[in-house]
């Protein structure tokens, strides 16, 4: 797609682009390049001297069982968040898609958690799950469960998964609902005439037709779980206990700031960048329409 | 007012595609010129070069005495009506018409006077405060015309302005455009692919094909004496019949074994040359079977009300004849007589008239 009619001005387009390009170069490319450079360096404790060490930082990472544990934690965490928020959202969207009274009202009541900051979502859920004062924690205790996310890694993980999924439901709900509404009524009617009952229609017609939306949402949710949940985790567990809720992004932050291991942190950043680029490439299928020059 | 003169105008696109291959003609001051041709023939590109919306790769375009090749569209003293109207969707009808004048710094009072005058002429006065979205197709068309009129330009350019309207409205607007152009007396160049629009509107008709001019003239001239097989086939509905034939040396051609008399002087002295015999469906007469007639095996009949189109085959070649309803049988074989003066002969290779 190209515009047929354009302006012939020579200098103007550069002036129009300048602010964005400048910010992009200074705050995106330069730091990214720095991260790559730094990942090949080792800095002494006082930051006085640096040494070029080739892939040592990377080798160090990949021989560190701690890194694999964080990787595993990230996989578990993002899978749990994705599956949970997607399935709840799909259920709600299917219900709201039926011609029921007040469907738009329900939509309004379901979408606003999108606006809640991840860190605030974390705080809200701590308030319910805190072992000494949380209302849900007390309920669990009464059921005989020794709920203690401060000491029990699994409990801590459940806690961050709940808070992160809770916040993401509204987003998924909106996209599922839009996807459902885009399915032509006639197709569903044809299936009904072919004798498919509602449950069967859902599995054989609606779900397959919804698969592009689902695929898109899976990618978006993984990206969300990787990056945007930092605030939730930091507010709820700080990565603990004993790093049980430390995701890759959290480790970059923790190693760089608290540990001062800038080289290792940079190497982790580079690996994360590779992951983002991979995810973006997958997502590209959906963005491609935007960039078909 | 001014004339428009094109001299060997060319358009070559980046990939080397030649959209317009050396076009020259002059549009007289105050006349209505229609550029017609199939899609992709370069007519729109040519119009856009006159408007200044496309660069001119070669040749010159003059408006009046001034060469405008390097002049901005806004300074060419033209106005243009677009196929999709190109009304500014966020501006009222009034502002749409006033916008160009404001950009030019025309005094407010004069803008107001001109816009109201145009609105009166075009019958859109009640809608001046509305947005284009709230108008019907025909009303939008009028506003687009109004935007052109208020400018009081030297030349009006129309780029298929009626093709987004339904059939009935199209006929109505066609008449209005013609009337308006007559009363304002502004030189107009009009692009269309619709040959009926082309025939009815134009003082001067330019038929284009493959980036070149096929023929220029009045509509009647082109219809009566098409210079090429392309023009002959393009103008006229239903289209002209073309029947393969062979030149004879006695002012006639052979169609199969039959001798058919043709207009005098056509292709003398080139006997044996294969040609295409062109006859318009309305120029064929139903007659008694005789040596000089052509037999049409009837396939089916289209009713037009006052007349009928009888479709069939002459020696296996598809042909059509137009007759008054009920004037001929609608089954079997018809004998068709040919009026020599109404025949056209074309060279099959070059398509040129003989």
């Amino acid at each position: 797609m190209e515009k047929r009619a354009v302006f012939g001005n020579r200098a103007l387009p550069y002036a129009l682009l300048a602010p964005q390009i400048a910010i992009t170069l200074i705050f995106f490319y330069w730091p990214a390049a720095q991260a790559v450079r730094q990942s090949f360096l080792v800095e002494d404790a006082f930051g006085l001297s640096t040494e070029f060490v080739w892939f040592e930082n990377y080798i160090h990472l990949f021989t560190d069982p701690g890194y694999y544990r964080t990787l595993w934690t990230t996989v578990v965490f993002s899978t749990a968040v994705t599956v949970m928020s997607l399935s709840v959202a799909l259920l709600l969207a299917v219900m709201a898609d039926r011609e029921i009274k007040g469907a738009t009202g329900y939509r309004t009541l379901l979408i606003w958690p999108y606006a809640v900051a991840p860190a605030v979502a974390g705080v809200l859920w701590i308030f319910m799950l805190d072992p000494s004062l949380g209302i849900i924690a007390q309920g669990l205790r009464r059921l005989g469960i020794d709920w203690n996310p401060r000491l029990n890694g699994t409990h801590a993980m459940i806690q961050v998964v709940l808070a992160s999924s809770w916040k993401q439901i509204s987003y998924n709900f909106l996209f599922f609902l839009a996807g459902l509404q885009a399915i032509p009524k006639s197709v569903i009617e044809a299936a009904a005439i072919d004798g498919a009952r509602p449950w069967r229609r859902f599995w054989t017609i609606i779900l397959p037709l919804l698969s592009p939306t689902t695929f898109f949402l899976v990618v978006v949710n993984i990206v969300y779980a990787f990056f945007e949940t930092f605030g939730t985790i930091d507010a709820m567990t700080g990565g603990g206990p004993a790093k049980a809720t430390e995701t890759l992004v959290y480790k970059v932050y923790a190693d760089g700031r608290l540990g001062g291991d800038l080289g290792g942190s940079a190497a982790q950043s580079v690996i994360l960048m590779a992951i983002v680029i991979g995810l973006t490439a997958i997502q590209f299928r959906f963005i491609e329409r935007k960039v078909t020059y | 007012m001014a004339s428009v003169t094109l001299t060997d105008v060319r358009k070559v696109y980046h990939g080397g595609v030649e959209a317009v291959r050396g076009v020259s003609f002059e549009v007289a001051d105050g006349s209505f010129c229609v550029l017609v041709g199939p899609s992709g023939c370069g007519k729109s590109t040519l119009l856009r070069m006159i408007a200044g919306l496309e660069t001119i790769s070669g040749g010159t375009v003059r408006i009046g005495e001034r060469v405008v090749n390097a002049i901005e569209p806004a300074d060419r003293d033209i106005a243009m009506v677009f196929q999709n109207y190109a009304l500014y969707p966020h501006m009222s009808v009034y502002d749409n018409m006033a916008y160009g004048l404001r950009n030019r710094g025309t005094p407010k009072a004069e803008i107001d006077a001109r816009v109201r005058e145009a609105a009166r002429i075009l019958d859109v006065e009640p809608y001046l405060d509305r947005r284009p979205k709230a108008l019907s197709g025909g009303q939008r068309q009028r506003v687009a015309m109004g935007r052109a009129i208020v400018r009081k330009p030297q030349v009006f350019l129309f780029d298929e302005p009626l093709s987004n309207l339904d059939a009935k409205l199209r006929v109505q607007m066609r008449v209005e455009i013609k009337r308006l152009q007559r009363s304002l007396g502004v030189t107009s160049i009009y692009v269309t692919h619709d040959q009926v629009e082309a025939m009815t509107l134009s003082d001067q008709l330019v038929v284009m094909n493959a980036g070149q001019v096929e023929q220029i003239g009045t509509p009647t001239e082109l219809y009566r004496r098409p210079a090429t097989r392309f023009v002959a086939g393009f103008l006229g509905s239903p289209a002209m019949n073309f029947i393969p034939a062979v030149l004879r040396d006695d002012g006639a051609v052979s169609v199969g074994e039959r001798r058919v008399a043709v207009s005098a002087g056509a292709g003398g002295g080139r006997a044996g040359l294969p040609v295409e015999l062109g006859i318009r469906p309305e120029d064929l007469r139903v007659a008694a079977s005789a040596p000089g007639t052509l037999p049409l095996e009837i396939e089916f009949v289209e009713e037009l009300g006052a007349t009928q189109l009888i479709h069939g085959r002459i020696d296996g070649v598809a042909a059509t004849v137009q007759v008054a309803t009920g004037a001929a049988p609608t089954e079997g074989t018809l004998a068709l007589a040919v009026e020599p003066a109404a025949t056209h002969l074309f060279e099959p290779e070059s398509g040129r008239r003989l």
Binding site: L12, L110, G122, L124, Y253 | F82, A86, Y99
Partner: protein, 283 residues
Amino acid sequence: MVERRSLWGTLLPHLVLMAGVAVVAFPVYLAVVGSTHESAVIANGQMPLYPGGEAIDTYYRTLVIGPSRSTREPVAGMLLNSFLMAMIIAVGKIAISILSAYAVVYFRFPLRMAAFWTIFVTLMLPVEVRIYPTYKIVADLGLLDSMAGLTLPLIASATATLLFRQFFMTVPDELVEASKIDGAGPFRFFKDTLLPLSRTNMAALFVILFIYGWNQYLWPLLITTRDDMQTIVIGIKKMIVTSDALTEWQIVMATAVLAMLPPVLVVIGMQKLFVRGLVETEK
């Protein structure tokens, strides 16, 4: 739906949706309730499920005085910081990306595609993956603890540029041509035609970006060291780092409510634009 539904079939969606709304709303309800009780009641785990009578006192203290034991910073200032940051990010992003999209779509110039791809690739570089190098650059530029340092690195965005580019592509070419004939150059066309036509897109984008800016966490956490530069999302977290018994939960919850209020109101009040913005930016 196609066939007639039984009573159960009519009721089920409502029940499920109400349950969904309850799950979604409960944590927030609890926060509101929490902000109306005394600290001691909450700390004992004795908080009832209905609002108490301390609301005015709590919100006054939260906004004007601040928690006495942790940050000590009144939340009103944080709200202002958050508001400024969100506004600058949203308006800044829209401004620079509409200009760059205009350049890329409506002009032909050397390096046009290079510029486009330079911007496009940043889609793949969220701030989280380049956090320390960016921090160092902002520090070197002397922008720590400043609004500029807080917002500039978050302002460049491929998404907004792509959205505007997408929209500009759907604007008919004839509008530019009509403008040219009407004597409008690139400035006038932008101001008189393109900008008014983009209004809805800008508003939709604004809703999304305001929320994005308001909810930023990791970057402000690193870049702000002074308490008076804190945003509310950072401030609230700092209120609970101190050990359990010392946390003034009623104030934490009041702060949570205040932190949620502006973006949630934006979403509910501008629901149509919000949905549109969300769908368009992800398309």
